[in-house]
Structure formats: C-alpha cells, structure tokens
C-alpha cells in the first residue's frame, strides 16, 4: 500500500529531516508513527501528500511512484488520501456540510451523490444535527470530527492523521481515536502521527518510532518507547 525506500530529506542549509527511511505499510494496517518534536514525523506526512519531495529515495503509494510526481498530478493523489490535521484546517467561510462536500466537489462528484454522502459521514462522526453551522460555531473536538468526516467523504484507501489529538482534551482525543479505529475496521489504512504516549499504548497496534530522522524501532504490537 505504502512504501518508503531509502528516503532521505535534507532541507536547504544541510538540515537533515529524514535519513534513509525504509517503511512498508500493508493495506488495512493501523500504524502509529511516534517521536518527539522535530524528529521528522511531519516531514514524513508532507511527503505522503507530496507537499515535500524526498532528496533521495522513492515513495510508492498503491504501486504509484510519487517521488517525482508532476504538479498537475498532485490533486489526483490527494483526493485518494484522507488527511486529519492537528489544527483542523476547516474552511472558515463554509458550513460543516459545505466543508465536507468540498472534498467531493473538487473530485467532480455529482451533486446528488454529495447530498447523499455528506449527511452519512457527518452522522458517523455524530454531527448530523449541526450541518449548517460554521466552524467557529462548534467546539474544537467537533471541528476535528468534521475533519475526520471530510477525510472519509471520498472513501480513501489511506487516512493520515497528523497529531489529530494535539489540540484536544483527553475525552475528545479518545473519541477521535475511536473514530479512527472504526474507520480502520472498515478496511482503511490508518497512519497516526502522534507523540501521545497514552493513546499509542492503549491502541496496541504497530508502532514506528523516529528519532533524529531515523527509524529506531518498528514493532507490530508496539508501545511508546521514548
């Protein structure tokens, strides 16, 4: 499903973010990528989304080598990866319905289909009654649930959650993790980037640990090591 082959990322100024990363994530896996701040977790996510390109090595997603992906091909890639961000990244001038619908509209989905899918995914995250509200009219936990709903809307094969609980209290964090587990149960590969020890240990799934841009541990039933 997702492969990193000898991937390194060196930013201008000789700052090495990732060094010789080799990863192989199978379809349907739930993988936590952990590490302290500045260890290259976010760079890794950015490379999956083609926001950054590797300085060397190859990234292959579903058999598609995206290492040198063309600018015009990036939207095609992103439409197939669900992303949940720490800072939510909701469109402030759109209602919750419109935020979720937007992910489908950019894919050219038919309006009738959008009207069918959006309430469905908002129901999954428990926000079907707040569809016409704007992001600033709901709580942080609810905003993150909208982001999860948006990432689910086009039924992605991979869902990348970059510190999804970073801005949430423990109750909301648990709810989000439960949602991610539910999504994974439906067969979606979930890549969770976090430095929340409690969440990682409770999950009891595969854990990849990064330190100074290097994979120092990759365990099938891992725990938070650092």
């Amino acid at each position: 499903m997702l492969q990193f082959k000898n991937v390194s990322k060196i930013y201008t100024g000789q700052q090495t973010a990732l060094k010789d990363i080799n990863l192989h994530i199978e379809p349907g896996e739930f993988v936590s990528i952990v590490g302290q701040s500045g260890t290259g977790k976010t760079t890794l996510v950015k490379m999956i989304l083609a926001e950054e390109r590797p300085s060397s090595g190859h990234i292959i997603i579903g058999g598609w080598d995206i290492t040198n992906i063309k600018q015009r091909e990036i939207p095609t890639l992103r439409k197939q990866i669900g992303v949940v961000f720490q800072d939510f990244k909701l469109l402030p001038r759109k209602t919750l319905f419109e935020n979720v619908a937007f992910a489908l509209e950019v894919s050219g989905e038919a309006q009738a289909k959008i009207k069918e899918i959006v309430p469905q995914v908002l129901r999954i995250v428990g926000l079907e009654g707040k569809m016409s509200r704007f992001p600033n009219q709901i709580s942080g936990g609810e905003q993150q649930r909208v982001v999860v709903a948006r990432s689910l809307a086009h039924r992605p094969k991979i869902l990348v959650a970059d510190e999804p609980t970073g801005n949430l209290d423990s109750i909301n964090s648990r709810e989000i993790i439960e949602l991610l587990k539910k999504i994974n149960d439906f067969g979606t590969t979930v890549i969770l980037v976090t430095h929340n020890r409690e969440i990682v240990n409770d999950l009891n799934r595969r854990v990849i640990t990064l330190e100074d841009g290097i994979v120092i541990s990759d365990k099938q039933r891992g725990r938070y090591l650092l």
Binding site: M1, L49, E51, I61, G62, G63, W64, R72, I74, P75, T76, L77, R78, K79, Q80, V83, F85, K89, L90, L91, P92, R93, K94, E98, F102, A103, E105, V106, S107, G108, E109, A110, Q111, R150, H154, K157
Partner: protein, 320 residues
C-alpha cells in the same frame, strides 16, 4: 489504489461539466459571506472608474469651451466708402464659393453705424463725436466665418493677393483675432496634454490601489487556499472562484460607476449649459453618444486588471 485512479479518470468528464457551476457557486458564496471586503473592493473600483470618467467629462467640456470661443472668432473685411454694392457683392460671391468658408454676412454702412452707436451707448464722448460728423464715416463690411480657425489667414491672403479686391478693402480686422486664435489653440493643446496626463496619472494610482486591494483580499484567504489544495483541489478549481469574484467586483463596480456618471451628468447639465451658452452640448448627450467607448473601455480595463491581479496574487499561495 489503481482502481481509484481509473475511477478518477472515469469522473474526469463529469468534473469538467460540474466545475463551472461550482466555481460560480463558490464565488457567489465568497462574495456574500465576505460582504464587507466585497463592498470595500467595489468602492475602490467605483472611485477609480469615477475619477477617470470625471476627467473624461472635464476634457469634453474644455473641448466644447474651446470650440465655442473659436466659433466667436471671425474676420471682418471693411470696404472703403467708395466701394459700390455690386463690387461688394462680387467679393461676397467669390468668398462664398470657397470651400473653407462657412458663411459670409453683409453689414451695410448704416447698420454698422447703428451697431457702433449701440456698442458705445455708455460713452457720450464717442456718441458726440459721431454726431459732429456730417457723413457716415464707416464703410460696408463683410463678416466671414470659416470652418477652421487656421483658414482665416487664407481669407486675408486672398483679399490681399487679388488686386481688384485689395483696391476696395479699407481694413481687415483679423490681426487681433489671429493672436486670440493662436493663444486658444495653444491653451487647447495644453489642456489636452494636462488632462490626459492627469488621467494617466490617476489610472496608474488606481491600478496600484486595485492590485493591492486584491492582493490583500487574497492574502486574507491564504490559509483557505492551502486547505483547498490539501484536500485535493486543482489550481484551476481554487483559482476559479477568486477570479470569478474579481470579475464580479469589476462588473458591479462598472455598473455603479455607469449609474453614478449618468446621475452626475444629469444634475450637472444645467450648469454646463449655463457655462457654454448656446453650444449644442450636454454631458448626458456626450455620455450617451460615447457610452460604448467610455464604459466599454473602462469595463474591459477594470476586468483585465482585476482578473490579472487576482491570478498573480494567487500564484504564490497555490504552491502547496
């Protein structure tokens, strides 16, 4: 993943047909949900276009004022008292036959005297002097109008160059007028240059103001643009609503300017008519006759500026 890619290709055509209405919908949403930013941008466009329109008005009025003064200028050919009616008629017929001559008016010596008396009604000294004279000292006069001010010299030249005419002529009063005409033409050229200089200066300032207003508007949406890109929107899909919004600003701004200009023209016309007198000119008429050129030009200009400025301002935020 590969099947997902083929699905992508499958809905490609659907995307093309569904994009335009969606882009239109998003642009209208942006427009109304950010109504204050929209109002500010439109106000700046209206102020810009209205200052350009005002300068066009001023140029048109100045042009008419110059034409009015030019129409007041003529050349008077004074005949010697000995010149007979037939001889004067021959001169008049000859002049009327010239292509550059608009009209020739005959003023008899008695009419000239009456006119002189009327003109100096407030000067008892001159009136007394006229009474002292037994005979009318004035001769008959031909007042010649030409189509172009530069042709007055031709009238004088032809009178001087034709011996049988020169013998009849006492005096020609073009010398003073030629100075006025030369001055007028000079002022007219200066006004034209200054007027257009100010117009271009205003247009440049307006260009900077509009480009910066649009840049600020785009800057306030930079995070939104990044989010759109991250959820898979193509550059075209992100750019579309912003460009259409700019187009909307330009159209609404132009329509408001158009209405404003018509109102200003209607309310200013009594003053313009008072200023120019008998000249057949109104701002409303001028606006109606040149509507396509003035508003068409302004509309095309403002749409181009807005759309290009938006596209350029967006470029840096689309690199996500």
């Amino acid at each position: 993943m590969l099947s997902a890619i083929s699905k992508e290709a499958g809905i490609y055509y659907n995307m093309i047909f569904s994009s335009l209405p969606r882009i239109a919908k998003f642009s209208l949403q942006n427009f109304f949900r950010n109504i204050w930013l929209s109002i500010v941008t439109i106000t700046i466009i209206v102020l810009t276009l209205f200052s350009v329109t005002s300068l066009i008005f001023v140029n048109a009025i100045m042009d008419q004022a110059i034409k009015l003064v030019e129409s007041k200028v003529d050349v008077s050919v004074y005949f010697k008292p000995a010149a007979t009616g037939e001889q004067i008629l021959a001169v008049q017929t000859y002049l009327e036959g010239q292509s550059y001559v608009k009209d020739v008016m005959y003023v008899s010596k008695s009419e000239a005297l009456a006119k002189l008396r009327e003109q100096y009604n407030d000067s008892p000294l001159i009136l007394e002097s006229l009474k002292e004279l037994d005979n009318n000292p004035l001769g008959d006069t031909l007042i010649v109008n030409t189509y172009e001010t530069k042709d007055y010299q031709k009238v004088i030249d032809v009178m001087e160059a034709t011996p049988q005419f020169a013998a009849l002529v006492d005096n020609q009063s073009f010398d003073d007028n030629s100075y006025i005409i030369a001055k007028l033409e000079d002022i007219s050229k200066q006004i034209f240059r200054v007027g257009w200089g100010i117009t271009i200066f205003f247009a440049l300032i307006s260009l900077l103001v509009i480009v910066n207003t649009i840049r600020i508007a785009i800057y306030t949406h930079r995070d939104e643009i990044g989010i759109m890109k991250l959820v898979g929107a193509s550059n075209q899909f992100v750019r579309g609503p912003f460009v259409m919004e700019a187009f909307l600003y330009a159209i609404i701004g132009s329509v408001i300017t158009f209405i404003l200009a018509y109102l200003v023209a209607t309310f200013s016309d009594p003053y313009v008519v008072g200023l120019l007198g008998q000249v057949d000119f109104t701002l409303l008429g001028y606006l109606t006759n040149n509507m396509l050129m003035i508003f068409g030009g302004e509309l095309v200009g403002i749409v181009l500026i807005s759309v290009i400025a938006t596209s350029l301002a967006l470029r840096r935020y689309l690199r996500v």
